[in-house]
Amino acid sequence: MHSDVVLWIVVATALAFDFTNGFHDTANSIATSVSTRAMAPRVAVLMAAGLNFIGAFLSLAVAATIAKGIVDSTSVTLLTVFAGLIGAIAWNLVTWWRGLPSSSSHALIGGVVGATIASEGTSGVFWDGLVEKVAVPALVAPVLAMIAAGIAILVAYRIVGRQSPGVVSRGFRVGQWASSALFSLSHGTNDAQKTMGIIFLALVANGNMSADADIPLWVVVSAASAIALGTYFGGWRIVRTMGAKIIKMDPAQGFAAQGVGSAVILSASHVGFPLSTTHVMSGAIMGAGAAKRLSAVRWGVAGNIVLAWVLTLPCSAAVGALTYGVVRIFGDGSVGPVVVVIALVAALIALFARRSIGGGRAVPAEGTR
């Protein structure tokens, strides 16, 4: 009975994480299109949400066992998964509040690593796996995207340089519809799988299913719905950072950033070296701006973003470990997770109540919808 309650809490928490993942990553799909006015904000989120939903059904490859090769799978319990999810959700919310794009996958890995360290000690973590799946991709993704987008925008300017700016802008705005759609679809095939994998693992760990069973349809539908809903709500603070605060971009830069972003992610996926969509898009936007003029990039904003990337793993790990510690105070049962969920929801309500009292001034970007 207790384990069933814990299971359903884990499932609900996984869907909440999925929602924050979509919400957090809306910017990757639409920031460039919205800021260059290729699309109206509401149309952009509607399209991104729809394609994320469809994408979630297109690929059910459960490489989605996100922490595979990073923590000892025999030590993973429902409580460590729960604590890891709370670490990831907390980090996603903090970075959203600060308007900083950061990787939801790295936050989830950090949360699970922290919870595993709290439960098993450092021997439960495969450090080589952490370097391979987190550290190296985090170094490669933004630099590669920056260089590729820099070259791409210089080539684009060279090709269309003598044409009327109005015609060129209109053309690239049309292209942004395709690049944005491709990016959203790709996001759906990647990120919803993580949640499906976590729910599936929880069902297997709880003895509800065998490890070789197919993913139940309700898991696919609920994960696809959660990420699409999150995307539709849109993390507008991050959209504003990526779309307007890093560089003031023209439609050619927006297209180059998004086209290169899609190309880099799909190329890496093809080669079997998955990269963070957030790192790739942020790097591509910086590259598209820097190639035009180095001073076009607001390096202070870029520095804050990089700092958030560096802090993602340790901070989400710390929250994951702390959550696991708190949960264990109440034993193996469902009381601990219930207490943590109530505390998190209460903190969120307090945060939003404070924002409402402040007249919503803290969220200027919400008005862009």
Partner: protein, 82 residues
């Protein structure tokens, strides 16, 4: 050869060159779509129908190439393995 003892250097090199070729390629191809459309309109207004058709053809061919790249992208998404 392995980087930091855990990541195949060859794999990273492949990601780098494939990404740069694909990223720059897709941007360049769509830039030719924009260029072809713009020049085709200019040529038509200037009363040069042959040039207008030639530029329109360039735009159309590049648009087909761009669409083909998008299809390849979707195929890569669909062929992901666990």
């Amino acid at each position: 050869m392995r980087l930091l003892g855990v990541v195949e250097l060859g794999q990273i090199v492949e990601v780098i060159w494939v990404s740069i070729v694909a990223g720059v390629g897709i941007t360049a191809i769509f830039s030719f779509v924009v260029l072809g459309s713009a020049r085709s309109g200019e040529a038509r207004r200037a009363g040069r129908p042959a040039a207008s058709v030639a530029y329109a053809l360039l735009a159309a061919l590049c648009l087909v190439a761009f669409a083909a790249i998008v299809v390849v992208g979707v195929q890569i998404m669909l062929s992901k393995e666990a």
